[in-house]
């Protein structure tokens, strides 16, 4: 896993930039970034497990305008790095714990970058108010540079946390199963909360219920 760290760092930075600043093509969604991180770390199954669990957490919020939202891209990378190589579900709990911490730190740093962008805009007010294209370009590209540094730093901190947890977290087999159980339960609770919010009180709520019934039947038939 240690050999994969530079690639994981690069991938986490790309995933973090995709959150809002560059493209928003959703490679930063945990389902995608976790799976790719798992492949990079040499354990695709662990990456898939972490990515899909975090995708349930990500269903909670819609990344609307100025809303605060966690950065689950670098979070999934750090989570996959934590779980890589652990047998079965044993790495899932610590991985989700690391990922949630990184996701929350990502959320806080996004606010910091937005405030720094505000300061930059205020500082360059004269150029912007003169309609200077070079000034506009500078503000835009400095924003990209700022967010690149943010995504890189968040991923780096996440990977450092992952290495520390892998090395030093004293977790027995029973303890690991307990944390995995709670992580999955919490993910389901968050996803259901998000789905209920999305469904509102109108006809979408009825479609949500119909979907859940259909899903239960599908599981029963499997």
């Amino acid at each position: 896993m240690i050999g994969a760290l530079p690639w994981l760092l690069l991938w986490g930075t790309i995933a973090g930039l995709d959150l809002a600043t560059v493209g928003q093509v959703m490679v930063g969604r945990p389902m995608v970034s976790g799976i790719v991180a798992g492949i990079l770390a040499g354990d695709p199954a662990a990456g898939a497990l972490v990515g899909i669990t975090l995708e349930l957490f990500a269903l909670d919020l819609l990344p609307v305008g100025g809303a605060r939202y966690p950065d689950y891209g670098p979070a999934a990378v750090a989570g996959a790095a934590t779980a890589a190589g652990a047998p079965g579900l044993l790495g899932l709990g610590p991985a989700i714990a690391v990922a949630l911490v990184v996701g929350y730190v990502g959320e806080v740093t996004v606010q910091m970058v937005r405030r720094m962008n505000s300061t930059d805009v205020q500082r360059r007010r004269a150029e912007l108010d003169a309609g200077d294209p070079a000034g506009i370009r500078r503000v835009q590209w400095r924003g990209i540079a700022r967010d690149t540094i943010r995504a890189l730093a968040v991923t780096l901190a996440g990977l450092a946390l992952a290495v520390a947890v892998r090395r030093w977290l004293p977790l027995s087999l029973r303890g690991a199963v307990l944390v995995a159980t709670v992580a999955v339960g919490a993910a389901v609770a968050v996803a259901v909360t998000g789905a209920l919010r999305l469904g509102g009180r109108g006809p979408a709520r009825a479609w949500l219920v119909a979907g859940i019934v259909g899903g239960i039947v599908w599981v029963a038939l499997q």
Partner: protein
């Protein structure tokens, strides 16, 4: 195709790079629109070129995928010689609808729908196929919306509001949230069952209990708590207990 259109389209991909609390996405829209203004009579040395950039670089907000529509329409208004005050009214008038339509269509419908379909494919067939399905499905609409917005904005200019009444858009708004809700509903039991497939009966029951507790917390006791915070409290508590459990 108008010269500068491809440049403008590519610039819409980084429209949120300088997102800030003062002007929101205004500087980004001015940056995206700039290539469309270069061939104004008199070129970049024309006062109208700079005046247009100055106005748009002020406060502006819209869904990022529809900012191209504003950039196209406002650039066209400059080429058509629309009076400054009228172009400014258009800019202000676009803020609400472009935000609301984009949020409802993409964030509240297409993103959750694509994610749910990706999850279903991932847990019932193949995990990589699920991720690819999600990316392809999502981005077909995402990139088409960016392209359509920019081109329709440029074509319609001051009449761009009419494009927001498009039948396809309205059909998407009408059925989008319902389709997304159904797909998420379908995905939830499948994904839960997939995640718990290695659990014994006791762990399944416990995970269900934690989910029920989480729902009580988010729906009744602390409805403002975000998913990440709830997850942090529950998982870190379990981690502390788990570390002590020998």
């Amino acid at each position: 195709m108008k010269r500068g259109m491809l440049h403008a389209w590519m610039r819409t991909l980084i429209v949120q790079a300088s997102w800030n609390y003062d002007r929101m996405v205004g500087v980004g829209v001015a940056y995206a629109m700039e290539p469309l203004l270069r061939d104004l009579p008199g070129g970049p040395s024309n006062g109208r070129y700079r005046a247009a950039l100055r106005r748009v670089a002020g406060f502006f907000n819209a869904h990022p995928y529809l900012t191209g529509m504003a950039a196209g329409a406002l650039a066209r208004a400059e080429h058509d010689g629309v009076p400054e005050a009228q172009a400014d009214r258009l800019r202000h008038a676009l803020i609400g609808p472009l935000g609301s339509v984009g949020d409802q269509l993409i964030w509240a419908a297409w993103l959750p729908l694509s994610a749910a379909v990706g999850l279903i494919v991932a847990v019932t067939w193949s995990v990589p196929a699920g991720a690819v399905t999600f990316l392809v499905l999502y981005n077909v609409v995402h990139l088409a919306l960016r392209t359509w917005g920019l081109s329709v904005g440029w074509r319609a200019g001051m009449g761009v509001a009419g494009a927001l009444g498009s039948r396809v858009l309205h059909a998407g708004l009408r059925v989008g949230a319902m389709a997304a809700s159904f797909a998420i509903g379908l995905a939830l039991p499948l994904v839960s069952s997939w995640l718990m497939r290695q659990f014994g009966a006791g762990e399944r029951l416990s995970a269900g209990g934690v989910a029920a507790l989480g729902l009580v917390l988010t729906r009744i006791l602390v409805p403002r708590v975000s998913g990440v915070k709830l997850g942090l409290v529950l998982v870190l508590t379990a981690l502390a207990v788990g570390a002590l459990w020998r």
